[in-house]
Every structure is written in structure tokens, then in C-alpha cells.
Symmetry: C2
Subunit: 193 residues, 2 copies
């Protein structure tokens, strides 16, 4: 097999694993279930992936690396804080739309990580929350945002977008663009006129 | 025992059960755990409560009945839609602050209800969502709210407040009033000035 085929198969395994973990939980999914879902013999699946733990790590760090990359991009933007926050929320929503199952694993199954990897994941989450909070804090200091409690605003925003991963699928009569724009209207401009 | 003592004991059992279900899940909690937590012999606990299933029902319907009562109160208010929505979000947050463990059971463990009670609970939830959505829809029609997609606004708001039940406890350096006011600022006025 070419490297390319190998990498595509590995990605297929990760994608199907994320869907199964989302549906049945990390604990409720066996490597046998996964092999059946992927349509591969369990033995040949192990040519691509070492263990269920390795799969969990790869999915969780794909998500946390993406969040951190998005935060870093936004931190380097030359723009008002309100635009930075808009950009960060937008990327956050897009990741949920494009990679909902993996985001779900990152939200719910990360606690099954072990040792250093568990600590690394928690540190990445803290880094994201602190970076996001700093943007809100600076936006308030610059007079661009209402003077709210930063933690309350941060968790309200992060919580407000979490349903997207549970609800959104094609056929909901809302395009991804409308979804993003409507959420942004509520969070940044407020529902009230 | 007086009726009053009986009713207080029953309430104590429900309160401790909600905390245990929140911590360990409905499936992960045994009647033996609960008796130990309440500080009662299991046998005498059964004088107050029939079964774990009955406890789950009582907690779930306490929450859904409260939500429906709050919705009905707000529907009968003579006020602009934006004030009705403010009042409904406020009551929703207050219930989470005052009765967080029970709200958590209503959010997560309701799926272990069975038969008619499961259907009744789902119907109550639908009634709440539809009533809340109608307020948003009417508020938009009256020109009081931004013309957003009603489902997106509804789920953004309901999701936005869900972290309160997970995060809030005394000692967070935010009073219940500040918490409510800050969430309301983000959702109704928007974070941006």
C-alpha cells in the first residue's frame, strides 16, 4: 500500500471511531465494533492503529490542536477585539459543523485519556479558555464590550455553541452560514433590538 | 412520625438522590448508596419511597412541572416580549442555581424514565421549547427582536445557560444576581457595545 492509502485508511478509522464514541461512548465501543463499522478485519486494522487508547489520543489532540491553532491565528490578527472574538466564535462553530463527532469526543471522552496525555489535554483546554478570556478582558478594557464578568461571559459563549455539535446536520433547513450568523447575532449583538 | 416529618424525610431522600445521580449517574447509584448518604437504614427508607424509579420520576417531574409553571406565568404577563423572554431566562437560571442537582437529573437521566412517564416528560419538554420559541417568534413579529432563525436562537439560549448548573456554587466570586444579569446582558444586549 502507498503511504497515501495508508494515511487515508487511518483517517477513515479515526472518523468512524469518533462517530462510534459519540454514539456509544468510549467505554461502550470495542475494537471489534470499530472494525465492523470500518469494514476491515480487526487484525488488519491493527496495521494502522495500535489501540483504542491511541485512537482516543489522536482524536482529542486533533481537536485541541485545532482550537489552539485557531486561537493563535486570532491573537495575531490586527483587528478590534470584537472582530477577533467574532472570528474565534466563527472558527469554533465551523469546527463543530465540519468535525462534530470528533468535537463530541473532545468534549465528553477526553477524561479517559491517561497520564501525561490527560495533563496535556487539560493544559490545552486551559490555554484556550485563558486566551479567549483575555480577548474578552481586553475588549472590555478597550471599551468595545459591555463590562461583564469575564468568566460568566466566556462560559456563556462556550456553552451557547455546544448544542451545534448535537443538533446540526444537513437537512435542518439552516445553512452553516445562517447558523453561524444567527448565533453570532445573539451573542454579540443580543437578541433584543 | 408526623406528616410533616415524613414529608421532610422524603424531600431529604430526593435531594440526596439528585446529588448522587448527578455525581454517579442514575445507573451508577444504588439504593444502598443512597441510604448511606441519607443516613438511614435501607429498610426504613422504603417507608418513604418505593423504588429508584419512583425517585427518578419525582425529580424529573418536579423539574419539568417547574419549567412549565414558569412558562405559563410568563405567557400570562402583560409586558413586551423582550421582557417576557428576560423573565423566562431569569427563572430558568434561578432554578439551576437553587436546584442544580435536580436540573442535572432532568437534563441527563430523564432517558431512564419508562413507558408513559417517559412520553409525558418528552411532551413537557416539547411544550416548554414550543412555548419559548413562540415568545421569540412573536417578539420578532412585533419588531422587538432581531429577525433571527427561531430554532437557532432558542437552542443557543437554552444551551448558553446550561453551564450554570455545572459551574455555579457559592464561592465563585459571583453572586446569583450578577450571574443572572451578566448572562442576560450577553444574550439580550449582546457582548459588543
Amino acid at each position: 500500500m502507498s503511504k497515501r492509502t495508508n494515511s487515508a485508511k487511518r483517517q477513515l478509522i479515526l472518523d468512524e471511531a469518533a462517530k462510534l464514541f459519540k454514539l456509544k461512548g468510549f467505554g461502550g465501543t470495542s475494537m471489534r465494533d470499530l472494525a465492523a463499522q470500518v469494514g476491515m478485519e480487526a487484525a488488519s486494522m491493527y496495521n494502522h492503529i495500535k489501540s483504542k487508547d491511541e485512537i482516543l489520543e489522536l482524536i482529542c489532540f486533533h481537536i485541541s490542536d485545532t482550537y489552539i491553532r485557531q486561537l493563535t491565528e486570532v491573537e495575531h490578527m490586527q483587528a478590534p477585539y470584537v472582530e477577533k472574538i467574532r472570528a474565534l466564535i466563527g472558527r469554533h462553530i465551523q469546527l463543530m459543523i465540519e468535525d462534530g463527532a470528533a468535537v463530541s469526543v473532545g468534549n465528553n471522552d477526553w477524561k479517559y485519556l491517561t497520564g501525561d496525555r490527560l495533563e496535556d489535554f487539560k493544559a490545552a483546554r486551559k490555554r484556550y479558555e485563558k486566551g479567549f478570556a483575555a480577548l474578552i478582558e481586553q475588549g472590555i478594557a478597550a471599551g468595545e464590550l459591555h463590562p461583564v464578568n469575564v468568566s460568566v461571559a466566556l462560559f456563556t459563549i462556550l456553552s451557547a455553541v455546544r448544542w451545534v455539535e448535537l443538533w446540526y446536520r444537513p437537512g435542518r433547513n439552516v445553512t452553516p452560514e445562517e447558523l453561524e450568523e444567527n448565533i453570532m447575532t445573539v451573542l454579540l449583538n443580543g437578541l433584543a433590538k
